[in-house]
């Protein structure tokens, strides 16, 4: 219990630090968004002080001392109020994010999980039958696929399956003739559009999961308790899963949690290449439009989700590995 309490306290403190940093960083940068915008307008003609004031009000420029700004910011974060997006003006930042998050979470999240589960299981199989046909083929093949740059695979797939064969749409999250709603034609269209992005993420990601599980498991298979398990006459299933894979999985859980945390940031490359309406696409839009409120909120979302994933990993790890739980020596 002490372990879990410590982790919870640690988690809350890091979240607070992340939020505070997110508040301080933009304020450390020289200039502010209003000035940036004004210099743009200034090229077209002189700007009067009243126009400048109006612009500041429109963008919601903060007023007051740093402390009052900080408290206000904390309060707003708790309310989910991140201000108004510049690039989608006057839509609120939170609404913009709410529109993009589900796309990323379902597609990138699901594919990441499936890719991890399938890759890990295949890794267990390859390690258990190491040196046999499947292992030899898989090790070479997946070293190859995991070395591909993602954008290259994505472009290749778009060209091959989208352009030449015309099997799948080449961009977007759903057909342009539909509007988001929970009905069959929309869900069907969304699924259809998600196949190519999903495939490309899956193909480039699975190699890593497979190889790291395989290598870990081969290490574990050399341990004395595996030998003892054999001598005890335990069944192959018990030895391979309960003794070998169970222990080989431990270091991988942390890795996987980190990857899951990054999901919320979206797959920047994938969403850019496929113009997929998720968080990554939003991030690149916000960047190119100097949309400060949106950027700040996105950073906060990404940071918090990485922290959340790490926290989850710590908790899960505590259940999986008794050595961590009691903080004892080995």
């Amino acid at each position: 219990m002490k372990y879990f309490m410590r982790k919870i306290v640690f988690f809350i403190v890091t979240i607070w630090i992340a939020i505070t940093l997110n508040f301080i960083l933009p304020r450390l940068m020289p200039g502010n968004p209003a000035q940036a915008m004004m210099s743009k307008f200034a090229q077209q003609g002189a700007i009067t002080p009243s126009q400048e004031h109006a612009l500041a009000l429109m963008l919601g420029m903060p007023t007051g001392s740093l402390w009052t700004q900080y408290w206000q910011y904390l309060l707003h974060v708790c309310e989910g109020n991140f201000g108004v997006s510049y690039s989608f003006y006057p839509v609120k930042v939170i609404t913009v994010i709410a529109g993009a998050l589900p796309w990323t979470l379902t597609l990138v999240g699901l594919v990441t999980i499936i890719q991890f589960v399938v890759g890990t299981l295949l890794g267990v199989y390859a390690a258990w039958h190491r040196g046999r046909k499947f292992d030899s083929v898989a090790t070479v093949l997946f070293s190859f696929t995991s070395a591909f740059p993602y954008f290259w695979i994505a472009l290749l797939f778009i060209y091959l399956f989208g352009y030449i064969l015309n099997w799948f749409p080449i961009s977007g999250g759903y057909s342009g003739s539909l509007s988001p709603a929970l009905n069959w034609s929309f869900v069907g269209s969304a699924l259809y559009h998600s196949i190519l992005p999903a495939l490309t993420i899956f193909i480039t990601g699975i190699g890593g999961s497979l190889l790291s599980m395989r290598n870990n498991m081969i290490n574990t298979l050399g341990e004395d308790y595996i030998l003892l398990g054999r001598a005890e006459g335990l069944s192959e299933t018990v030895i391979s899963i309960r003794y070998a894979a169970r222990n080989a999985l431990l270091p991988i859980v942390t890795n996987f949690a980190m990857t899951l945390g990054m999901v919320v940031g979206g797959s920047l490359l994938m969403e850019t290449v496929f113009a997929y309406p998720g968080m990554g696409y939003l991030l690149s839009t916000a960047l190119s439009n100097q949309d400060y409120p949106l950027l700040q909120a996105l950073f906060l979302f990404i940071t918090v989700s990485v922290l959340l994933a790490n926290f989850a990993a710590d908790i899960v790890y505590g259940f999986l590995d008794p050595r961590v739980r009691r903080g004892g020596a080995r």
């Binding site: 004395d224 308790y225 003892l228 001598a231 005890e232 335990l234 018990v238």
Partner: protein, 325 residues
């Protein structure tokens, strides 16, 4: 009773000739006996132990010969039959230090895994049995609720011994069971083992590099050199000094704590390269008593009153029996 005949183990190497780690070894371990197997590092004693229990990697080793437990041939037995026989007839105890137990399972669960692999047991009965065995190795029953990392090295070794007893095997092979422990704990564990062996009536094959320790507990000791057993003798005879020059040299490595001046003697030279065929007696190049036939002919096994020996000093080559003098 365990009977080993002409057991040979080759390790395949990446390049070149295979290394012959065990070179045609024959011996028996009678029922209810405590037999020691002693030799220096790399002499093949652990390989021999693993070959008997068929735990060597089939891909990297060639094992030939006969290993029979109560007349049943182990080396050619089907995997299914072998799995049933494992632990219920032959159990092993590894050096208990670091990783002899699965780190994520409670001690209790590891006992239960073995029992479940060999039959149906009620949880209650299993817990009772585990508690009883832990008491037999002088540990608290509560140890069953612990994880391996919560136990000391000595405790782990005791648990490993308790675990080996769980299905009442006929033979327990202990591979360097006390090597990682300090002398005091070592002593306690060996005494406990001897006591258990007498009461529970199983046989022990105790593999160790520590001749002094083995002589104290074993009834019979086999001395191994370069993949072969060169002397197989009762502990009493060996305590008086042994017959084979190698055994004598080994015994010389221990100082007498009673004497005023302790003189420790090593054995000069190194064991032969086992990737090359050995001509003559393997120990001849290091032997102070070697004479002409030693480097030419492999010494045959000669029976003695209480055991056997492979040395030309005791064959017709040098006028026959010198034993007992």
């Amino acid at each position: 009773m365990l009977e080993v005949k002409d057991l040979r183990v080759n390790y395949k190497t990446q390049h070149g000739r295979p290394v012959t780690a065990v070179r045609g070894v024959s011996f028996t371990v009678p029922d209810h006996s405590f037999v020691g197997l002693v030799g220096e590092s790399g002499c093949g004693k652990s390989t021999l132990g693993f070959a008997i229990s068929r735990l060597l990697n089939v891909k990297r080793n060639e094992v030939s010969g006969y290993v029979q437990l109560n007349g049943k041939e182990l080396l050619t037995m089907s995997d299914r039959e072998l799995r049933k026989l494992r632990w219920s007839k032959i159990a092993i105890v590894l050096q208990g230090g670091m990783n002899a137990f699965n780190p994520v399972l409670k001690i209790k669960q590891q006992f239960m895994d073995v029992m479940r692999a060999h039959g149906k047991f009620r949880v209650q009965d299993m817990v009772e049995r585990i508690g009883y065995l832990l008491e037999q190795v002088k540990l608290d029953r509560e140890v069953m609720e612990a994880y391996p990392h919560e136990l000391s090295g000595g405790m782990k070794q005791r648990v490993a011994i308790a675990l080996s007893l769980v299905l009442e095997p006929e033979l327990i092979i202990l591979d360097e069971p006390t090597t990682a422990l300090d002398v005091v704990v070592q002593r306690a564990i060996v005494d406990m083992l001897q006591d258990l062996q007498r009461r529970m009536k199983f046989s022990v094959l105790f593999i160790s590099h520590d001749l002094g320790l083995v002589l104290e507990v074993a009834q019979r000791v086999m001395v191994m050199y370069a993949g072969d057993i060169i002397e197989d003798e009762s502990a009493d005879v060996l305590l008086k000094g042994g017959n084979h020059p190698y055994t004598k040299a080994l015994l010389n490595c221990y100082g007498d704590p009673q004497s005023e001046e302790v003189r420790l003697v090593g054995i000069p030279g190194a064991p032969p390269d086992l990737s090359q065929p050995v001509v003559g007696c393997a120990f001849a190049p290091r032997c102070a008593d070697a004479f002409a036939p030693c480097t030419l002919h492999q010494p045959p096994r000669v029976k003695t009153e209480t055991g056997s020996i492979c040395c030309h000093l005791y064959t017709e080559m040098k006028g026959g029996s010198k034993i007992g003098n």
